[in-house]
Symmetry: C2
Subunit: 600 residues, 2 copies
């Protein structure tokens, strides 16, 4: 058992489940090869094992401390950051002329998975830095890029996203941080940001914050928010950090998990104003920010998949070793104890984890492939289709892995029993780390509202229709395989239920949006279950075909495992949607009708 993701899983997902090799036909990737992709993944795996996994528990034990106005992090995190940057992962997906390797998005994300599985809270820093640099690449002026981008690519500078404030959480239209224009075109920012991950640390020369603020006099609400680049240190013309900007670390938040990722309160403008540079257009900042938020949402899904996968793999290793009692059929107390994995309920806990972890990983890489197509597909129509489908799927890609990742890590503890509750094993830390994922980058309810209130209705339902069409194509393909027909029919039935209930809820939004959206979180959950079933049907299809022509016993067993996990999902999880559809169909109002005074 490695501390990362089984490389066999990546080869299945990238080259069998997805058609990553086909990317090599695209002009951007003519210099690439499958060998290059694989060697990037191997490098990621090696660095993850050598520089990230080893201090995961130490980082959990030794939270960053607030010292002399700055956050001090354990030195292992600095070494991990340096190894990550030196291997070129911060800029791997950039264009060659930007200093990058033009690595496809889906390969980059597969590489990131190794780090998330090894040590999510140290990997949080590069994760955010990559997203922040992408903002600068898209919305920055040439001057700004010249000053700040190279350092974010080679690791001299990290990046963050500065959205949330103490007075508001998910409601970004209510932020109070404001910006005052300077005569030279720059701005001075004033205000406070909270829950800023990686907002301070002591291992880079600089930190580049992507900050949302309201230019004085801007319209109220979400339409008056602008996006600024606010560095910790201002830089000179060569990009070398000089004067300290007016951004102060006001405090560190202490959390249940992710200890080694600082979570900060930052004060802007306590000494005259923090210098900020407008990115993109004024008042369009929230729209711009959605690039980073959407990237981060898919990233959170991937993080959740990896934490779930790690828990699965650690609990599997334990279950294979640990003797524990006997089977119900064994009556002789002197008979040898069996190992945990021989107990049916332990296999259930392992198989469910496999279904959640590998299903999530498949979904997140599928989403990354859509992102790739949206950017580099030769056909403009296909680019648009990929973008539209990804837009619909984003709340699901964020939420389903997060929710069922928590369930998976819960099961991983249960496999170990009392041992799983102790700090002698990583399972309890994974459980704590995972719990953040249904919260950050939009709490679960936000994504339900986004899906049902926005994604499903946008473009008169065009995105929803594309989703149905795509899943239906998968169903049709699988129906021709005898062993998969039952699953395909079950998915078709669930999809039919979804398509029956969706227009009811969409129509009601016009007259009674509060009631129409009251059960949006449940809608998100069934949408997620259908999406996950789709991912498992697709994996089963691929595995079934591969098994037919497979002569290698280990590979054959691998494919049988995929087929059994798919069976599990269709037999054990998808049927649970029936009761949820009944609630949605009837537009149930039991929670909606609950009165505050009835809570006592």
């Amino acid at each position: 058992m490695a501390a990362t993701i089984n490389q066999r899983e990546f080869s299945f997902l990238l080259y069998e489940f997805l058609d990553t090799e086909k990317l090599l036909e695209r002009p951007r990737y003519t210099e690439h090869s499958r060998d290059i992709f694989d060697s990037m993944l191997e490098t990621a795996n090696k660095i993850a094992v050598d520089f990230f996994a080893g201090h995961n528990a130490k980082g959990d034990e030794h939270e960053p401390v607030f010292e002399a106005g700055s956050a001090k992090v354990i030195p292992e995190a600095a070494r991990a950051w340096r190894a990550f940057a030196d291997a070129g992962f911060l800029s791997a997906h950039w264009e060659v002329e930007e200093g990058g390797l033009q690595l496809p998005e889906v390969v980059l994300r597969a590489a990131m998975a190794a780090f998330f599985a090894a040590n999510v809270s140290t990997a949080g820093y590069p994760f955010l830095t990559i997203g922040a640099a992408n903002m600068l690449r898209v919305f920055g002026t040439d001057t700004l890029k010249h000053s700040y981008l190279a350092a974010m690519g080679d690791g001299r500078s990290s990046g963050t996203m500065g959205l949330t404030e103490p007075g508001q959480g998910s409601s970004l239209g209510d932020i109070k941080t404001y910006a005052v224009a300077n005569p030279d075109g720059t701005y001075r920012l004033f205000g406070q940001k909270m829950f800023i991950s990686g907002g301070d640390q002591d291992f880079t020369d600089n930190i580049v914050h992507m900050v949302l603020a309201r230019i004085q006099g801007a319209p109220p609400g979400a339409k008056g928010i602008s996006l600024f680049l606010v560095p910790k240190f201002l830089v000179n013309e060569e990009g070398a950090p000089g004067e300290r900007n007016d951004v102060a670390l006001a405090g560190l938040l202490h959390k249940m998990g992710w200890h080694n990722t600082t979570s900060t309160v930052l004060s802007f403008g306590e000494q005259g104003g923090a210098v900020g540079y407008l990115l993109g257009e004024p008042h369009r900042g929230l729209a711009h920010m959605f690039q980073m938020m959407n990237e981060a949402r898919i990233g959170v899904g991937l993080v959740a998949s990896c934490i779930a996968y790690r828990g699965f793999s650690e609990s599997l290793a334990y279950a294979k070793e640990r003797p524990q009692g006997r089977l119900p059929s064994a009556k002789d107390p002197l008979s040898k104890q069996v190992r945990l994995i021989e107990h049916a309920d332990i296999r259930r806990l392992l198989l469910a984890q496999k279904a959640y972890a590998e299903g999530s990983l498949a979904l997140c890489l599928y989403a990354s492939a859509l992102f790739e197509d949206q950017q580099t597909h030769a056909d403009a129509g296909e680019r648009a289709r990929a973008a539209l489908l990804l837009d619909v799927l984003t709340p699901v890609v964020k939420s389903w892995p997060s929710k069922y990742g928590c369930a998976a890590n819960d099961m991983a503890i249960q496999v170990l029993g009392g041992a799983g509750y102790t700090k002698d094993y990583i399972l309890e830390q994974l459980y704590r780390d995972q719990r953040l994922n249904p919260i950050h980058e939009g709490a679960e309810a936000i994504h339900g509202l986004d899906l049902l209130g926005r994604k499903v209705v946008m473009q008169r339902g065009e995105g929803y229709r594309l989703f149905v069409e795509t899943v239906t194509a998968e169903i049709e393909r699988a129906r021709d395989v005898a062993d998969l027909k039952g699953a395909a029919d079950a998915l078709a039935a669930a999809l039919g239920e979804l398509s029956a209930v969706t227009p009811i809820l969409v129509a009601l939004q016009a007259t009674d949006p509060d009631r129409a959206l009251a059960n949006a979180t449940i809608y998100l959950d069934v949408f997620g279950k259908i999406t996950a079933a789709w991912m498992w049907l697709r994996q089963a299809y691929v595995a079934d075909r591969a098994l037919a022509g497979c002569s290698n016993a280990v590979d054959a067993d691998y494919y049988r495992g995929k087929l059994q996990a798919a069976r599990y999902y269709f037999q054990w999880d998808l049927p649970g949607t029936a009761a949820q559809f009944a609630l949605l169909r009837s537009v149930d109002t039991v929670p909606y009708d609950m009165q505050e005074s009835w809570f006592q």
Copy 2:
């Protein structure tokens, strides 16, 4: 919001939902009154607030440390222990001649709930001491009682249960600790015990361990285990502790939660043998131990209920205060923000928590009332019926609150969003503390096997039939109330499903026990959901009747809250059993068939 349980909830559960006042007719309680019961509850609440709640976070932050062979606990825990003991709670349920107050079991447990809600890990010490003392009361010789009981009643001594060992977890038949008979009738014990809660601390003069060990030459397996009282210090004739016994603290386990309850590894007999006194009959130790285990199992259910209740009440208070965004219908960004509780999904999270927390509390007090009837009902037939029903229900009383308590505490975090993930609020600690409950006193799977493999089949199904009969009586009563007819019918249907599937699984146990019991955990879950629905139907019945004659607006709202929580449970949770019954009916073997080599 108090740090304990709303006193209104107790008055409902004890005097409306249960008929606790009727106990006053029994000879044992002639000196009692409702006022006395209530004043015990008020005292418990006051001590819980004054001595337990305040150091809950500190105990979490400052784990006990291993120092000079002993566990050192924060001083606040000692003061809490002293206050608890001085108020007489350790011996409140004992007979007057034992030095007790003859308090009914159900009132004692309601009093304990206040402590569990305030600070479960400090309350762990008295919880275990009460159980250990009950063992001594039942199985101890007069001499042993004379030596050890009084100190366990006034707080000079605590108590523990010593079952688990490093080499086995749930499989007690495999324990290796052994006992050698001394000529004077005492024994010397040798071996190691693990996960012993409260196994050492520094605030009592003595600790009395209830230890399972195998007398040399005993039969193998569960039928060769005996029960011993093994004190930390041997006592003189007056009961004063003298010589240190050969029980050594070998180490402290570090856990995800319950930090302030020491979890210990204890070594017996490293210096010639730990003196132990046989309790009850030789080789009958496991059967005897079931008294304490069953008491602890109901206790764990109660603990889980209280942690869930605390999370509910803390997240409710936050949701009432915190402004956050606007409703979907509000289009004006300048309109005032609404409070969290005004969002439908937040009300769902709160209502579900109410359904789980109050449903669990009702179930645990119902179980305590059965325990009471088993001991003190005037009619021998009724005593036997209560004992039988409690025996069937024990795995459910342990498991349902533990499982759905975890779900409730998860929701409590979600209500707060990012704030809930920080250590600024108690929610994340409750989430960690709660996670132990599906593990200790028998992991979830053990209770599934106990329920389906033992409880349902024992006495040719007599216990199961009594369960069905009791639930059916509740259904019949509720059917006469127009507003409850739908719920009553739904419960009758689910109970019908259970009674259809049970004989299938019982019959299969004769020929293929491994397959018959493969889905026992799912059986436990549906049994639990039906039991919870029964508890909610009963609460709804009481609330509906009370509301009809209620003139007080606050009380009326309280009853409306009960009715809405019942509606929630029947509308949102019970229907989920349909998919589970389908699995059970078909004796699904997907996890059972999964092969080890398919996991890669």
